[in-house]
Amino acid sequence: MIRIQNLNKSYVVGNTEMHVLKNLEVHIQAGELVSIMGSSGSGKSTLLNIIGILDSYDAGEYYLDNVLIKNLNESKAARLRNQLIGFVFQSFNLISFKNAMENVALPLYYQKVSRKERNKRALAYLDKLGLLEWAEHMPNELSGGQQQRVAIARAMVSEPKIILADEPTGALDSKTSHDVISLFREIHQTGITVIIVTHESDIAERTKRVIQIRDGAIIADV
């Protein structure tokens, strides 16, 4: 599903160049449940952004579903993101003036699905995550755990092949964190590739494979 070869990426900050990813090699099969671990500044978020086609890279190759992702224009990147990838963020990133159902339905809007169909599918996913009765509520009326579940429903509604989660439990208490990770495990059971970026080892322990990154290079892959 994901094949990364010899990937290099550097940022220019002021006058100094920061080499964030150094000759990275990562292969992830379809249907895996993987966590990427590392302290902050290790380059794990950059890697996730590159995998999510939100960021570009300098050298090497990245194949997503056997398509080379390199120098895509923004429209094409947007289309691939929309079709293949679902995102879950640390701070949920729900749109504040839309209710839960509308938030979940948003990816389908960009797939030109009709409003009625969108809302139907969104409600189905909210139901799956036990949030049906909260469908009409605005994000600020929901608890952190509920918001993150809405965000997960939004990531799943377009039926992507990969779900990318960037510190999905970073803003949640341990009980809720536990529930969210269980949820990812369930999603993984349905055959979707799940990649979670985290710096918490107890989260990483619950995934099938852990890739550890330090200073832009892989130091462990078990």
Binding site: N93, I95, R154
Partner: protein
């Protein structure tokens, strides 16, 4: 471009910022309102003056006798020029493009006009049939002088409505005989000229009759003609030709402006129209200036909105929104706001003009302030364009938002 879903998206954001949206709308609506009021007032001014001019044929050329001021071919200065029927015939024959032509023979002094026991003094002009169109004479009853009347020197008269009222009171005038300086004339028509009271106290006779009865021989005091649909340049050429023909026939220097006085109202009229053209440009400049201020306001507010919505735009992009769909969203919102509020301003402006034209009495310099449909449509197109311009920079800025930057946790 237009679909309900997108408008739903726009309504959501507009509803979220009611005050901001209102202020934006107000600046645009105000701009259009001012433009409409100014244009309407300009038209009102123009209509007033146009009406003032329309009492006489605008494109008419009036030729009056004068005195030579320059010696010419051995002839002394100070000679009086006297027109004759032959001058009239010559001009009629040789100048191309004449629409109507007539000569006038005045019967000077206050002539004593009688009908039975009633009598009063009125002015008399003898003229050709086409004179009717030169003065905008509006017939009320009967007919004007015709060719037969002139050929046969009939003793017939067309009288102004004040003459009719004075002599006939409320009785029927057509077919009755009135006495002019003791000679009997049959009344064949009555007329009015709404804008000119002097005209209403006039009596018209056939030119031939007037010349014979009042001892005018073949003398003519004034010759006038209209230039029809000729352009101002052609009109000027016709005037010049008339002058040179008369100069030749009466032996005076063509450059001697005082030998004959030639006046035409269309030159004056054109001068006014040029003035109005200038005023109109001035109004558009002010109006568009006001609208530009509105556009800058919209653009500015949209720019702030885009900045505030950076995160939202980032989310949308991460979920698969293409840069184009973001541009589309911002641009449509901008166009939507300008068109809706501009339309409101337009309606309000037209409403005010309607009320003014209904309740403010028309005067010499102001009547019927109005906006024609093309201007209104033009203003609306201008608004769409304005919306595009106003939305362009914010939309481009929005499209450049990088999802990773926008989603970066603060």
């Amino acid at each position: 471009m237009l679909n309900l879903d997108k408008f739903q998206e726009i309504f959501d954001t507009v509803k979220k910022n009611k005050l901001r949206t209102f202020l934006t709308c107000f600046s645009v609506a105000w701009g259009i309102f001012i433009l409409i009021i100014l244009l309407g007032a300009g038209t009102g001014l123009e209509n007033g003056v146009r009406q003032e001019f329309s009492r006489d044929a605008i494109n008419s050329v009036w030729i009056r006798r004068g005195q030579t001021s320059k010696p010419y071919k051995g002839l002394q200065a100070g000679r009086e020029i006297q027109f004759t029927n032959e001058d009239y015939e010559e001009l009629q024959r040789t100048i191309e493009g004449i629409e109507y032509i007539s000569s006038r023979f005045y019967v000077w002094g206050n002539n004593n006009i009688t009908y039975k026991d009633n009598y009063e003094a009125f002015n008399i002009i003898s003229a050709h049939p086409e004179h009717q169109y030169l003065e905008n004479t509006q017939l009320m009853k009967g007919r004007f002088i015709n060719v037969r009347d002139v050929e046969q020197r009939r003793k017939v008269a067309v009288i102004g409505n004040q003459v009719e009222t004075a002599l006939f009171k409320k009785k029927h005038a057509i077919g009755e005989y009135i006495g002019i300086n003791g000679i009997s004339f049959k009344v064949i028509g009555t007329f009015t000229d709404e804008r000119d009271e002097w005209q209403q106290r006039l009596i018209y006779l056939p030119i031939s009759t007037g010349q014979r009865v009042f001892n005018g021989k073949n003398k003519v005091h004034v010759i006038s003609f209209t230039t029809g649909n000729s352009s101002p340049e052609e009109g000027a050429a016709m005037e010049k030709k008339a002058r040179s023909i008369l100069a030749q026939r009466h032996h005076f220097d063509v450059k001697d402006e005082r030998a004959v006085h030639i006046g035409n109202r269309w030159e004056e009229y054109l001068k006014f129209m040029r003035l109005f053209g200038g005023i109109r440009i001035f109004i558009w400049v002010i109006g568009i200036g006001t609208i530009v201020a509105g556009i800058v306001g919209v653009s500015n507010i949209m720019l702030i909105a885009v900045k505030e919505r950076t995160r939202e735009i980032g989310i949308r992009k991460a979920l698969g929104a293409s840069p184009w769909s973001i541009i589309d969203l911002i641009l449509t919102e901008s166009i939507f706001i300008t068109v809706v509020s501009g339309y409101a301003g337009l309606i309000l402006g037209v409403g005010v003009l309607e009320i003014v034209s209904k309740y403010v009495p028309p005067s010499t310099y102001f009547r019927n302030p109005e906006i024609d449909v093309t201007v209104a449509v033009g203003a609306l197109l201008l608004l769409v364009f304005a919306g595009c311009v106003a939305g362009f920079i914010p939309a481009r800025k929005a499209a450049q938002v990088k999802p990773i930057v926008a989603l970066h946790d603060e």
